[in-house]
Amino acid sequence: MGIDQDGRAALEAGMTLLSVRGVSKRFGGLTAVDNVSFDVTAGELVGLIGPNGSGKTTLLNILSGLAKPDSGEILLDGTPCHDLAPERLAQRGVMRMFQLTRVFRRMNVVDNLLVAGRALGLGADEALSRADALIAELRLDVVRHLDAGQLSGGQMKLLEFGVCFMVPPRIALLDEPFAAVHPTMKEIMGGFIRSRHGKGQTFILVSHDMPVVVELCPRAVCMNAGRVIIDASTREVLNDPRVIEAYLGGQAA
């Protein structure tokens, strides 16, 4: 998965990497995701914002295979993928970071990363050297031999983040990576995202931290009550009265 070459080429070609078409999901009487459609071009860093209950997490669950849409489809590189199991999507390059960290608590930091590396096709040596590089970049060197369960909350978050990048994914789905995190960690993750984005890595970033969304994402999609209410440049989105209304607690227009 040579993201550098492919990524840059795709960006130049304006290739659609992910296509969400008319996706809906209901839970009993509640429509969590309502006819959502948008495309993500290869190399884009898209912000996904919206108040709680707007359907962002459900959408991310659908994109990463943990939930199946009731209607609509999702195309990855032109091929339908909405009925694939999470591990198959990971193999295809869709990596999802959870909001509440899920690490392998009784395995050490290196092994946590190796699981993803080996599962996604790397050989033992290559996986180890990639893991070492990631650990250095995320400044987790000092704790590399500790079990993940012994890490502090912030370190666990960095590890959770790192797992997604053992093998450069086609698209990285980041679910509130900056929530309640130390400024130092924000910097590490932010810098990481920026540098990878510069090399053509595609992201969807869910965040409530508006300054970070402004800083990192040229484009934003805002959801409210399950629907997309606006999909435009971040500046336009954050100036749109419907978006502010959504955060004020109003329902979708």
């Binding site: 591990e87 959870f98 392998f104 608590r105 009784r106 092994d111 190796l114 699981v115 599962a119 060197d141």
Partner: protein
């Protein structure tokens, strides 16, 4: 990569903390225990107690196999004894009716148990917790009753006579020990391979494992098959040791012992269940002499360990060693 270079202070701390990985430490401890077991006949020649130790080794294999399934992939099957019984009957029936030599019979037992384990594993894939336990329990009891009632074929509770393999008890002692060590080595190699990474990941968090690309369905099924094959092997070996196969091998009480050994020893650890198998079985034999309270004692121990000492005796030992090192 300065922080990891051999001379940096960080490397020294990291290196000192874990000279060998956790699994290797557990493996060495298990080998040490096996070495102790190997030396016992030098001091003990009482045939009865040697027999008790042989049966302990039989249970050690079963506990190790169940540990792979429950300790590493979180599938709490209540059928480990059943697969031992299936293995025993496979070699037993082949030997009794067709004169198949024991060694071939044992191989057949491994294959048959493994296949049935694979099928059962697929069948219960989507079940969790109590539902998985109940389904495997039903399977266990059905199999035992089938064996018990098919009197024409299996001779039911009267037992099926089969050929022996060795003549001396000491021979059997070292054969079982050899088998146990071989399985231990195989298990260790498995855990050190990428399969080991995946199994531990599934143990810790199945959803996170899937997110990381692990084919959880495949590995859970594989664990089921491997566990069943190991149990079948133990059962087949035991068949030729006892020279008799009865449905008693598949009694739920036997599974109860296996579960006790694994929980008390330490689920998800390499050495725990192995060592606990000896302790529990020897203790159970001793208690049987003393007053027959073994089931009550083990039930209480399982509850205490499951509630307070999740990592079992192995975990307690490790904590004690760490404290002793720091002091």
């Amino acid at each position: 990569m300065a922080p990891s270079s051999p001379t940096s202070p960080l490397a020294k701390t990291a290196g000192a903390q874990l000279a060998a990985s956790k699994t290797t430490v557990e493996f060495r401890a298990a080998l040490a225990a096996m070495a102790v077991v190997a030396l016992i006949p030098l001091g003990v020649s009482n045939a009865y107690w040697l027999g008790v130790l042989i049966v302990s080794m039989y249970f050690a294999i079963l506990a190790g196999g169940w540990n792979l399934l429950a300790g590493y992939t979180g599938q709490f099957s209540l059928a480990p004894a059943t697969f031992a019984m299936i293995g025993a009957y496979t070699t037993g029936l082949l030997n009794h009716y067709y004169g198949v030599p024991p060694l071939l019979g044992i191989v057949a037992a491994v294959v048959v148990s493994g296949l049935i384990g694979l099928l059962l594993g697929r069948a219960v894939m989507r079940l969790v917790g109590p539902y998985l336990a109940l389904t495997t329990l039903s399977f266990a009891e059905i199999m035992r009753l089938v064996a018990s009632n098919s009197i024409d074929i299996t001779r039911g509770d009267l037992g099926l006579g089969v050929a022996g393999l060795l003549n001396s008890r000491i021979g059997w002692y070292y054969l079982f020990l050899g088998a146990l060590v071989v399985l231990l080595i195989l298990f260790y190699l498995l855990l050190r391979s990428k399969a080991g990474l995946f199994l531990q990941a599934i143990r810790d968090d199945e959803v996170a494992a899937r997110r990381a690309g692990v084919n959880v369905v495949f590995w859970k099924t594989a664990a089921f098959a491997m566990s069943a094959a190991a149990s079948g092997f133990a059962g087949a070996l035991y068949a030729h040791f006892a020279e008799l196969v009865t449905p008693e091998l598949g009694l739920i009480g036997q599974t109860g012992l296996i579960v006790s050994m694994t929980v008390i020893g330490g689920m998800g650890t390499l050495a725990g269940p192995l060592v606990a198998a000896f302790l529990v079985y020897v203790l159970s034999e001793w208690l049987r002499d003393v007053g027959g309270y073994q089931l009550v004692v083990f039930a209480a121990l399982v509850i205490i360990f499951a509630r307070f000492f999740r990592e079992g005796l192995w975990g307690l030992t490790r904590t004690a060693v760490q404290r002793w090192r720091r002091a």
